[in-house]
Symmetry: C3
């Protein structure tokens, strides 16, 4: 309770653009307790008014289901309104006519005074660019920018891990799949740098390895990592098995060998090797790398993980609401 | 009045997935009187609160105007909100990344707790699949699935026929056009099986004949039907002339002969043959098969039919609201 | 104050379909003072109820950002709701199945009783067609029809000019760029015909000249115009430099010579020639014809112009609300 009070009084979140912006204390002491509260509110059916009277814009340049829908539902639970939304701005907005993201955001912010813009951006770095030109009291939430970052996803991933293990230090996490093109994995890696004693197994095909820039960050922040080209031998060491989808829409190429069951995907061998107390996560949507027979495994937590997305986005929006002018 | 009371107390509609799920008594004694009431409410401008506080998702994988708009307006008349909508989920949601309908619906239902998902599904059978995984208190409304069914359309068609004839028994109905690919016609045929003494003329080109499965159903339920390859000779026997559009987007191929005016379309000959007390219906949109000169014919009822779509969807949503937890 | 009172009592705007429908007195005495009031309301954060309980449909057949978003926000500021919206109706509505605009609008109006339909139409003349079939109390707002007209844009342009010069008579305006395909420029030219002593420079490549029909209108209404093929020599005479984007999506072809900086675009030479008290406008989105280095020039008014779009659309919707039945 004292935590929550402290949070209410001290934390005014503004833009949410990259995972690194959140520090350990904010995550553990402010954000996660608030997510707990949001979860309890939804369970009770308690609608809140934090966003009442505010105008939220949902600006999606690329396809999405979970992210767009959970933000929309989160806004509604908080009493706000998505006043304008576009689900394919890359093709159907002025962006298609060659408008820069800076001009677009200046319009929504400086000219139209939107309070919050939840944006999925087609290009890497556009969330930062958007925040840099948003004026006055318009706040930007990065709902994914290119293959760069997806901070709200990484935060909900960490929340789910914390919910299960009651800690974020001293964990062994296997990141499996398309580590080159998955923005989720990058944001998650950045967050790992905030905690102690995390070991990462980076299990990916040769052509899908994690960016050197992210690995440099891991080194600098004392996150131990090891690259691997097969999930099966390392599965037994994992607390968290975090599987991702090959991003075929971003031209990820897989060989026949890459698609061998268990290598970069979950099969019965992996399930047999994985410790009983481990958990299996996936940002979804999934394809063949996470077969539906895994769903009944007690370690499967990816639907709870998706559910936490609603609560995490509610919590982030509520924190932003503290920075908005009174209505 | 006693009917309505009875309805309010006894009928809790949950999922709406296929026309067959409705029985004669529900249709005539519960649903239609409620549609009447909705129509009267709208005429009076009386907004209602049946859906107040509930979160409705409008999930359209394929293009639509009438269905999507009328559901949206129906939700608003009932005091509810479309909290999240997508108008082309096939291309712009995670469905485009290979997600199964089961995963999508689990997310919207189990994870995000949507109250109602109004879905137009690209694939046959996905409405049933969706309802099978929706948990708790999320209800699915089939707003068309592939070329399989469109139950809310068929119900509004029947309501319009009932409004004009004050009965649904002992009618001769001509179903004209693309009977192979039109989901509306199939749902309508299924509903015909609930009533007595209906005779259907199935008037279609050879390559667009009604599915054998539907014809088996008609046989089993004692609906007499006769296939024909020209509308003109049978027009004089019809109570209801139900014209449909060739579904060119579903690769319906028509020959030059098929497009001869009056054969599978309405022309002056058809109008001359059609009895004075008959009515002309069309689910719309229409193309050349129903020329605009028919609009001033007193037997033309297709715009009233479309209007009834608003009231029918209000009634169905109101019936579903009885099954939702109190808010 | 007396102006506003008079306006409130006398002006009931119905459809907004083309610039010519507005006369000088309505613009100066009724509309502009109301825009001022809307601007003041937004600055104070004063939400209004003019549209409360009304159902607005946002029907966009083509891509848009500014127009669609500003209408959506305007509706919200006035307490109304966009009950149904489509952002790419050309592809994803029944229009894609061959439905005529007349049928579409009859459905939204006659069948579904929408109060206001804000429409961006793919085809020239469809706004007029829409208004001609809208029955009862459904009003159409033309948010751009093909390359024909964009009256709300032209009105906000004129408002911005009036805000700066406190007059609309006796001004020299340079219209620069793609005058053949830009609907904004055409609507603006029509509005110029309502005022006295306006001189237009029509600065465009040979293949992008203003339509003869618009020029005939200008002649008839005593608007002096001169065509030019280079901006630089005429810049020094301008009060208003109105730059437009080559509408590449409408197959505008430009030669290498056309793209020479300063010829049909703004460069340092143009800025040097342009009088100090002149203003630079652009309907946005912009591409290379208006480089971002112009943004810090004190004469650059295009973001204020965009902002005025919100207030202008609020004012127009408020005027329409006076014609709607009481709710």
């Amino acid at each position: 309770m004292s935590e929550i009070k402290r949070y209410n009084n001290s934390l005014n979140l503004s833009h949410v653009v990259e995972a690194q912006q959140f520090d350990r204390e904010t995550i553990l002491n402010n954000l996660f307790p608030l997510v707990d509260r949001m979860k309890a509110n939804v369970a009770k059916g308690a609608r809140k008014k934090a966003l009442r009277g505010y105008q939220v814009i949902s600006w999606f340049e690329e396809s999405s289901t979970r992210t767009a829908a959970s933000f929309a539902l989160a806004v509604d639970w908080l009493g706000g309104k998505i006043v304008y939304s576009t689900e394919n701005a890359k093709t159907f907005s002025s962006r298609a006519k060659g408008e820069s993201i800076e001009d677009t955001i200046r319009i929504l912010s400086e000219c139209y005074h939107a309070d919050i813009v939840v944006g999925r951006f087609a290009n890497n770095g556009d969330a930062v660019a958007a925040a840099s030109v948003a004026v006055g009291k318009t706040f930007i939430v990065n709902a994914g920018d290119g293959d760069n970052q997806h901070p709200t996803q990484a935060l909900l991933d960490m929340y789910t891990i914390h919910e299960k293990f009651e800690r974020l230090d001293n964990l062994t996490i296997g990141l499996v799949g398309d580590l080159a093109n998955g923005r989720t994995v990058k944001s998650l890696a950045y967050l790992c740098g905030k905690f102690e004693g995390i070991k990462l197994y980076l299990v990916s095909p040769e052509q899908c390895k994690l960016d050197q820039g992210v690995k440099d960050y891991l080194n600098k922040h004392h996150v131990f990592y090891e690259e691997a080209d097969d999930l099966r031998p390392v599965a037994q060491e994992l607390d968290v098995l975090y599987v991702t989808r090959p991003q075929l829409e971003r031209d990820t190429k897989l060989t026949e060998a890459d698609m061998e069951p268990g290598r970069f995907s979950v099969d019965q061998t992996v399930l047999a090797e994985l410790p009983d107390e481990a958990i299996i996560l996936h940002p979804l949507p999934r394809t063949w790398e996470l077969p539906t027979f895994v769903d009944i495994d007690l370690r499967a937590c990816y639907f709870e993980q998706a559910e936490n997305g609603l609560y995490m986005r509610m919590a982030l929006l509520k924190m932003i609401s503290h920075s908005l002018p009174k209505r």
